[in-house]
């Protein structure tokens, strides 16, 4: 499951960079104070279990909402707490406690140690302490360098700029979100810390005409600084025009269409098809049809799908996952052939496959699962204009609302706010709304007959089913394919 969207220009240079010197990271004081004690807890637990780990996690942030007649600033609820984990190869047992108070932490460790079943297996003993590795999101214009007042004024300026674009505008909602995630992971072999800043700015435009309400939106964001959320006048004007066109929208006649996808819609297709469907915690439970398709063709040779948490500046990038795996890309589908899934620690162990850096938690109160980060189609070679020129009658799908996975049945649903008619190789002002894609994943991927070179990623939120929400990003190039719309 994934929900709301926006698209981001392709990253042109590294913004989120690893490798700050130890000590440079600005961890919350209590988290920094507890960090040196984690090693001894891991060692103590590994006297009773083969593997133990500790995670300190703090997730919070700031939200500014500016509308026509309303303004609110919210410090987002902070989920800050510690997790201690033990895994015997069969069962993962964890204790989570709020905050980083040393007494609370010790209680959690003692309780876990007491509750662990007697095991003849234990860890390999305490090695020399691993060298700390610390990572910080790098930004050209860091959010923390701007005052609260600066950010508020920037949001107001944006609202006021858009409000003058069309007399039918009844409201402009500018929503700025700044998420800060700091975490420390400790195992026998790793002592990692990271400080990640994710920004997102959304402009939501509401128009009224003869008692009808129509809306459209635009979103920018990523890991980095304010440079990621600057929005140009042309994009804002097009957003207002997008809402205005909806006053004359029609329901689409259900059927098969030649479709060119916007980059965001391409991303949802990647996310719902070979994203959720290859989360390997589904594999041992017989929940993923992809289990039987490793090394087999699942789509057109033009299809390559990648999940990459190390992608510079992308919204869902991180330096290591919640199970201590350093980030690196995972190639899921390569030239139409399924190569392998994305893993969490437990399922990788169960399946005997290499781990990828995809063990993620919603926050310290939830367990880790295999989760996507930045999932996208790889680039192709057909420019968008050449792609459109191949379509005599079809639909350009740009603004997506949500998508839903079906890892077992390989069904897919992508709901789009609207689609625009393509006629004679050109996008027209005729609009269909809403428009849903439905189909069978391999058939949909098999119909892809052109892929554009330019890749862009969105910002959104992803659930596992309807819960376990994590920041997420998907995207890709434009795709030309044949699908059922309704």
């Amino acid at each position: 499951m994934t929900s709301p969207s926006g698209s981001n220009p392709p990253p042109v240079e590294p913004i989120a960079a690893a490798g700050a010197a130890p000590g440079a990271i600005d961890l919350p004081e209590a988290m920094a104070a507890l960090r040196p004690r984690l090693g001894e807890a891991v060692a103590a637990l590994e006297e009773r279990t083969p593997y133990a780990a500790a995670l300190l996690s703090s997730r919070g942030g700031l939200s500014i909402l500016v509308e026509r007649a309303e303004e609110t600033i919210t410090q987002l609820p902070r989920a800050a707490g510690a997790v201690v984990s033990a895994f015997d190869g069969q069962v993962l047992v964890e204790r989570s406690v709020p905050g980083f108070d040393s007494q609370g932490w010790q209680r959690a460790v003692d309780r876990l140690r007491r509750d662990l079943p007697a095991s003849s297996r234990r860890g390999d003993g305490r090695d020399a302490d691993p060298a700390p590795q610390d990572f910080v999101t790098v930004a050209r214009l860091p959010a923390r360098a701007l005052s609260l007042e600066d950010k508020l004024e920037r949001c107001r300026e944006l609202r006021d700029r858009v409000a003058g674009y069309d007399p039918r505008i009844v409201n402009v909602r500018v929503s700025y979100t700044e998420l800060r995630e700091t975490s420390v992971f400790r195992s026998r072999t790793a002592d990692l810390a990271q400080d990640i800043t994710r920004l997102r700015l959304q402009v939501f435009v509401i128009l009224g005409q003869n008692g009808d309400i129509r809306y459209d939106w635009l979103s920018r964001g990523g890991t980095g600084g304010w440079e990621l959320v600057e929005i140009g006048d042309d994009e804002l004007a097009e957003t207002v025009a997008g809402a205005a066109r909806l006053f004359s929208s029609e329901r689409i006649e259900p059927g098969e269409y030649a479709v060119v996808t916007g980059q965001g819609v391409s991303g949802v297709l990647a996310h719902e098809s070979f994203g959720h469907g290859v989360e390997t915690d589904l594999f041992p439970k017989e929940r993923a049809r992809a289990t039987d398709y490793v090394g087999r063709r699942v789509g057109s040779p033009l299809v390559t799908i990648i999940d990459d948490p190390s992608l510079p500046a992308a919204y869902s990038s991180y330096f290591f996952d919640d199970e201590g795996m350093l980030s690196r890309p995972a190639v899921i589908v390569e030239q139409g052939v399924f190569r392998g899934g994305i893993t969490d620690m437990v399922s990788a162990h169960q399946l005997g496959i290499p781990r990828t850096a995809n063990g993620r938690r919603q926050d310290y109160t939830r367990k880790p699962y295999a989760r996507m980060s930045n999932t996208f189609f790889g680039p192709g070679q057909t420019p968008l204009q050449d792609m459109l020129a191949q379509v005599e009658r079809g639909v350009y799908l740009e603004r997506w609302v949500n998508g839903m996975e079906d890892p077992q049945g390989w069904g897919i649903q992508i709901t789009c706010h609207y689609g625009r008619e393509i006629r004679g190789g050109k996008i027209t002002d005729r609009v269909f709304a809403p428009v849903s894609i439905s189909g069978y994943v391999p058939q949909v991927l098999e119909t892809i007959r052109a892929v554009s070179p330019s890749v862009a990623l969105d910002q959104g939120t992803c659930g596992k089913g309807h819960k376990e929400l994590v920041p997420n990003s998907s995207g890709g190039p434009h795709l030309l394919l044949q699908v059922h719309l309704g």
């Binding site: 209590a30 007649a69 309303e70 303004e71 609110t72 600033i73 410090q75 609820p77 707490g81 069969q90 069962v91 993962l92 047992v93 964890e94 204790r95 989570s96 709020p98 905050g99 609370g104 309780r111 609260l148 508020l152 009844v170 509401i206 009224g208 008692g211 009808d212 309400i213 129509r214 809306y215 329901r251 259900p254 098969e256 439970k285 929940r287 049809r289 437990v346 109160t365 939830r366 367990k367 949500n402 839903m404 079906d406 077992q408 049945g409 069904g411 897919i412 649903q413 709901t415 706010h417 428009v435 849903s436 439905s438 189909g439 069978y440 058939q443 089913g465 819960k467 059922h484 309704g486």
Partner: protein
């Protein structure tokens, strides 16, 4: 949590630069159980203690006087004073029309905390054991995954007008994945459910239903091309009603933001009405309702609010802030949906040929127009006693047009966030297959 809430309240009380404040303390304790097909894979105990604060203060340099608003959340062990300083500074920079916080009120004594749930871990394990017993006896479907969250949350709210309120809510959430068939013929179904009371989690009946539906999905054909009556029952009907269109268009906040065109005293429909008239309450006093509460996040008492009578909007669902702005009564947050019994026996609604939808991939209509086109995970073409399952394809229609021509059953039931007729027969929606 109580200490942190008290410290925060005292620090807020001491300030002289505020127009008002609200402090809400939440103490959550939970047990989580994760099981694969054969064995429990993970168990977790969780604790979470937070205090959230909302402050109102005069906006800097505004004439006429305006009100600034900001909120912050304190974590366990945190000193509230720096957070309050930040909140006041942030609030003073924002500009809103003036509004007041809710005054002290008598809170309804709505049942929220199931006394049968004493030990959270034992409850989770007991429910899971019942599920395993049911699943073991089934030959057509098998359990792939089960997750159980059993929680108890205590909430205390105080505000600057002297309001003090307290409630404790229990909650059981489950997610099951059920499989049928093998190889490329294998299918799965997902069951998500949240209830507050152990007695409302009928594990055996739920397993029986979902196992039968999974087996039906395994032998289902493609969706037909169809336009005509569509029946929704139970959980599917609750999903339809809670899909966002009604809650958005009846929302005072949405109205104030220009996002809703609904007006009290006017029809909620865009055309003529046939079938049964629509009367609808939003209620936060349904015993053990998913959205039930003695009070909402502002501190407004739980109410049963008549939103729509005979197709005409009666009032908005509005918190104190938006009620003040719109000059309407403050009803509190949108809650569970209640409908009166219909006039037709369920058997009559099911007698004539129809399509029944059991569940969608994600039923998500446009919140302002009500238009939808949602993929069908399982439906049936029903003709007399013959029920032919199908999967895939889209259900296409409009929520409001559907409600303008529907017949409701005389039989009623409770489905967690919806209490009312168990069956609705909509006059006409479209079904289209995924491929021509």
């Amino acid at each position: 949590m109580a200490d942190l809430l008290q410290a925060a309240g005292q620090a807020l009380e001491a300030r002289r630069d505020l127009l008002g404040w609200t402090a809400v303390g939440r103490r959550l304790r939970g047990e989580q159980l994760f099981s694969g097909r054969r064995a429990i894979e993970a168990r977790r105990s969780i604790e979470s203690d937070t205090v959230s604060l909302e402050v109102l203060c005069p906006s800097d340099g505004s004439a006429p006087p305006m009100c600034g608003a900001a909120s912050v959340t304190l974590a366990a062990g945190e000193d509230p004073r720096p957070a309050i300083d930040f909140a006041v500074r942030a609030a003073s920079r924002t500009r809103n029309p003036l509004y007041e916080l809710p005054p002290p009120a008598t809170m309804p004594d709505v049942p929220l905390d199931d006394p049968e749930i004493s030990d959270l871990e034992e409850t989770a394990l007991g429910l899971h054991q019942r599920l395993l017993s049911g699943a073991a006896a089934d030959s057509e479907a098998r359990l792939a995954l089960a997750e159980w969250f059993v929680e108890r949350e205590e909430v205390r709210l105080v505000n600057s007008r002297g309001l003090e309120a307290h409630q404790t809510r229990s909650e059981i959430s489950l997610e099951w994945i059920v499989l049928a068939g093998d190889g490329d013929g294998r299918v799965e179904t997902t069951l998500d459910l949240t209830r507050r009371r152990l007695a409302d989690v009928d594990v055996e009946r739920l397993w029986s239903e979902v196992a039968r539906q999974t087996a039906d999905r395994q032998r289902a054909g493609p969706a037909p091309m169809y336009e005509g009556p569509v029946v929704l029952r139970g959980r599917a009907l609750a999903t339809f009603l809670h899909s966002g269109t009604i809650a958005t268009l009846a929302s005072g906040r949405a109205r104030y933001a220009g996002f809703s065109h609904w007006e009290p005293g006017k029809s909620v429909f865009r055309g003529p009405v046939a079938g049964d008239p629509l009367t609808l309450w939003t209620s936060r006093v349904v015993p053990y309702g998913v959205h039930a509460g003695r009070f909402d996040s502002e501190g407004l008492p739980g109410q049963r609010v008549l939103l729509i009578r005979d197709g005409v909007l009666q009032t908005y669902s509005a918190g104190q802030r938006y009620a003040t702005y719109l000059g309407v009564p403050a009803t509190g947050a949108f809650g569970d949906i209640e409908l009166p019994p219909g006039r037709t026996p369920q058997a009559d609604l099911l007698a004539d040929p129809h399509v029944e939808i059991i569940w969608w991939s994600w039923f998500s209509p446009n919140p302002t127009t009500g238009d939808f086109a949602s993929e069908i995970r399982l439906g049936y073409v029903v003709d007399g006693d013959r029920r032919t399952p199908f999967t895939g394809g889209l259900l296409i229609g409009n929520v409001l047009d559907g409600l303008a021509n529907v017949r409701w059953s005389a039989e009623t039931g409770f489905f967690g966030d919806y209490a009312g007729p168990v069956t609705a027969r909509f006059a006409s929606f479209r079904v289209t297959p995924s491929r021509d």
